[in-house]
């Protein structure tokens, strides 16, 4: 059995979540829009999940819009608010370390004539609220900042930014896809108008997400069709997925003491891992040393290609990631690391380890032993000169 250290990509479905979902794939298999009994039963599952999630984040159930995942929630927030608010202005503010779902949505708006401000971050990946204040204008309609970074785990000063945006007409969107598994989410403390969430980052199923949309926030739907989700997201609901989303949220957030005990356990595992990794030559921690997700440990390693390292560790039975799974198909170094001022050459050697409920101390030691095994041979080859050139 492989050691799985990639919970930021997907945190595997928890058994009680699967159990909650199963009836909605079998006996309760109706369409929630149908009027008959099967339809009503399916609708009940969606309603209960909506209530559960709303309760955890301090929202009203009607303020939750279910989507096909975190990326769709981000798209709906950025483009939905961007296009709905053109009467007031066409200026959007975000940061250089956002997920591609945000950055590429913003880029589409920019191509349609919107003005876009992409704020810089410090070497830990943090945005300065002062920069947000300076960028806000009368024409600004949306500020989008992530709660915590998916690659390096750095938290953003969300409440401070929320306070600043509150004084303007702009809406405040928080991408909270990462981090929802370990800390309380309070849309009111954040003063957020929109918050993106995803199920599979906290042990729910893939392909389900949600966007919190504060009452009174104008939103242009991005899918045209039926009147589901109060006309904000057309299409038949993914009932079993939504039920699983609700169950996962309940499981993680039902007991705040258990949640913070688990966060502390993960944090101390990360410390053990960090100390072990930093004992290797040429390993540098990325992201904020303290103010980061409790289950994220990310580093850059000199003299290796991240993809090669991940393959080598996989063959030793340790599953890891180089930065974000969403961009691992590309050969460009991570935009997050580059924005943090990390040298492009070094950024190629990034490794992200993200822990979950099953992770143990023994796993940390096994990971370090695997690295000890593969790192010397990966580095040795980098130092080799190519054979005497025979141009062809």
């Amino acid at each position: 059995m492989a050691i799985y250290l990639d919970h930021a990509a997907t945190s595997p479905l928890r058994p009680p979540v699967l159990e909650a979902m199963l009836p909605y794939l079998t006996e309760h298999a109706g369409n929630p829009s149908s009027l008959h009994g099967s339809g009503r039963r399916a609708r009940q599952g969606v309603d209960e999940a909506r209530e559960a999630i709303a309760q955890v984040i301090g929202a009203q159930p009607r303020e939750i819009v279910f989507t096909g995942g975190g990326t769709e929630a981000d798209n709906l927030a950025v483009k939905g608010v961007g296009w709905a608010a053109t009467g007031r202005g066409r200026h959007v503010i975000t940061t250089a370390v956002e997920h591609k779902a945000i950055l590429n949505s913003v880029a589409i708006l920019q191509r349609s004539g919107f003005e876009v401000t992409v704020l810089p971050v410090d070497r830990y990946g943090r945005v300065d609220p002062v920069d947000v204040a300076a960028a806000l204008t009368e024409r600004t309609t949306l500020v989008s900042v992530m709660a915590a970074n998916n690659e390096v785990g750095t938290r953003q000063p969300i409440a401070a930014i929320g306070e600043i945006v509150r004084g303007h007409a702009a809406r405040f969107h928080v991408d909270a896809v990462q981090g929802a598994a370990h800390e309380p989410i309070d849309v009111n403390a954040w003063q957020a108008d929109l918050v993106s969430l995803s199920a599979h980052k906290l042990g729910g199923p893939q392909g389900v997400g949600a966007l919190f949309v504060r009452r009174g926030t104008q939103l242009l739907p991005q899918l045209q069709g039926g009147s589901q989700e109060r006309q904000r997201r057309a299409g038949t609901e993914n009932v079993a997925g939504i039920v699983g989303f609700g169950a996962a949220f309940r499981l993680v957030h039902a007991d705040p003491n258990a949640r913070s005990a688990e966060a502390n356990r993960l944090k101390s595992l990360c410390v053990r891992l960090r100390d072990g990794l930093l004992a290797f030559e040429g390993v540098t921690l990325t992201g904020h040393p303290e103010d980061r997700l409790p289950n994220n440990l990310s580093v850059v390693i000199e003299g290796v290609e991240g993809g090669d390292l991940v393959a080598a560790l996989d063959l030793e039975g340790v599953e890891t990631s180089t930065g974000s799974a969403c961009t691992s198909g590309s050969t460009e170094p991570s935009h997050v690391l580059l924005a943090m001022g990390i040298d492009s050459h070094l950024a190629h050697g990034s490794l992200r380890l993200t822990l979950g409920p099953e992770t143990s101390e023994a796993d940390m030691d096994a990971m370090l032993a695997a690295l000890q095994l593969v790192l010397p041979r990966l580095r040795a080859v980098r130092g080799l000169q190519p054979k005497a050139a025979v141009p062809a």
């Binding site: 290609e305 993809g307 025979v390 141009p391």
Partner: protein, 361 residues
């Protein structure tokens, strides 16, 4: 237990090579690797016939799933750009004919995969879908022609040395192409009926002129076309747009077919000749390499092949220093093209080879 890396291009040959290895693996572990040689094209572009397109990656991944081996992508974009594409372009600028498939084998499949790939995957050997055979006899590895003479690819493999040959496997060496296709369809591999890749993978429409301009800023200056007597008979668009043996695109009407005989970069001149004027019996080869590490003798007999699928010709080889040799063929060979490989054989064994030198170099 040992680990073998199967280089998978997404074509039928490398698919079957990987499948055969996986079937025979026993204690061994087989790992499929697809090499990313260039960046994905934006949506809407098609490069489907090339071996390294994103579609090919999909095919290779599906095959790896079906034969149940781990599958990884090795990014060699930078190396491919520098050592295959730039080398390709520079060959034209040098008045030579490039040999990109051989360069890709040498630098990407063998150098990069053998060194970096084996390190990454902790493997001992690389297997490819080339049609060639290996034999260990009398204390050294010998590179032998494939059982299927039509498909033999030793012409592209002459650069391999003993160290590389000792860590290479060619699972298809004893098979014919129809047998390979049959195995692929029996295993229901999605690549079973895939057509042969034809074009050079990084020159989508065969138009390398755009690449010369893009990578080296060479737009081409018009210059003289002369015949073997030195008489000017026409004008060309830039010497690097032509290769030795080329017939089309000269714009010269002399009443019979004429071909490029020489490309002279220093004077931006093309020399053309009639068919019988471009055959030669002697030419020099540089950058010589021998699979055994050294030539059999200072002077020896061998059969020589000067282009893929061309017939072999008997020749006498005379070494000139360590890495050059002179070839004297028993009968004239048609248009030995500078830059192309001249590969030497002793019966079925590939002894090595080198690159044909420009006569004025």
């Amino acid at each position: 237990m040992s680990r073998v890396v199967a280089a998978m291009s997404g074509g039928v040959d490398s698919s079957v090579a990987a499948a055969l290895l996986a079937q025979q693996r026993g204690e061994d572990e087989v790992i499929g690797v697809w090499m990313r040689t260039h960046a994905d094209l934006p949506e809407g572009y098609e490069l489907s016939r090339s071996c390294c397109s994103p579609d090919a990656a999909d095919d290779a991944r599906r095959v790896a799933q079906l034969i149940d081996i781990p599958f990884f992508t090795l990014n060699v974009e930078r190396e491919f750009g520098e050592r295959v594409i730039d080398t390709f372009v520079d060959a034209y600028l040098d008045g030579a004919t490039p040999n990109p498939c051989q360069a890709c084998n040498q630098y990407i499949k063998f150098d990069e995969l053998l060194h970096r790939g084996l390190a990454a995957y902790g493997a001992d050997a690389v297997a490819t879908g080339h049609y060639a055979r290996l034999e260990h006899r009398d204390g050294r590895w010998r590179l032998l022609r494939a059982a299927d003479a039509d498909k033999d690819q030793t012409y592209f493999l002459w650069v391999l040395d003993q160290d590389q040959l000792s860590r290479t496997r060619f699972p298809l060496g004893d098979l014919t192409k129809p047998e390979v296709r049959k195995i692929a369809s029996e295993l229901r591999l999605p690549t079973a009926d895939k057509p042969e890749s034809q074009e050079i993978c990084f020159v989508p429409l065969g138009d390398y002129r755009a690449l010369l301009e893009e990578r080296r800023g060479y737009a081409g200056d018009p210059g003289p076309i002369i015949d073997v007597d030195g008489t000017r008979v026409g004008t060309h668009t830039g010497y690097a747009h032509y290769t030795v043996g080329q017939r089309h695109g000269l714009g010269v009407a002399l009443g019979e077919a004429v071909y490029v005989r020489e490309v002279l970069p220093s004077t931006n001149t093309l020399v053309i000749g009639r068919r019988d004027e471009i055959a030669q019996r002697t030419f020099t080869v540089h950058d010589a390499r021998f699979t055994a590490g050294e030539p059999p003798r200072e002077r020896f007999d061998a059969s020589v092949r000067i282009r893929h699928r061309a017939p072999d010709v008997a020749a006498e080889i005379t070494m000139v220093g360590r890495d050059r040799f002179l070839v004297e063929t028993a009968e004239p060979v048609w248009a030995p093209a500078p830059g192309q490989a001249a590969v030497l054989y002793d019966g079925a064994e590939c002894l090595g080879g080198g690159r044909i030198a420009r006569s004025d170099a």
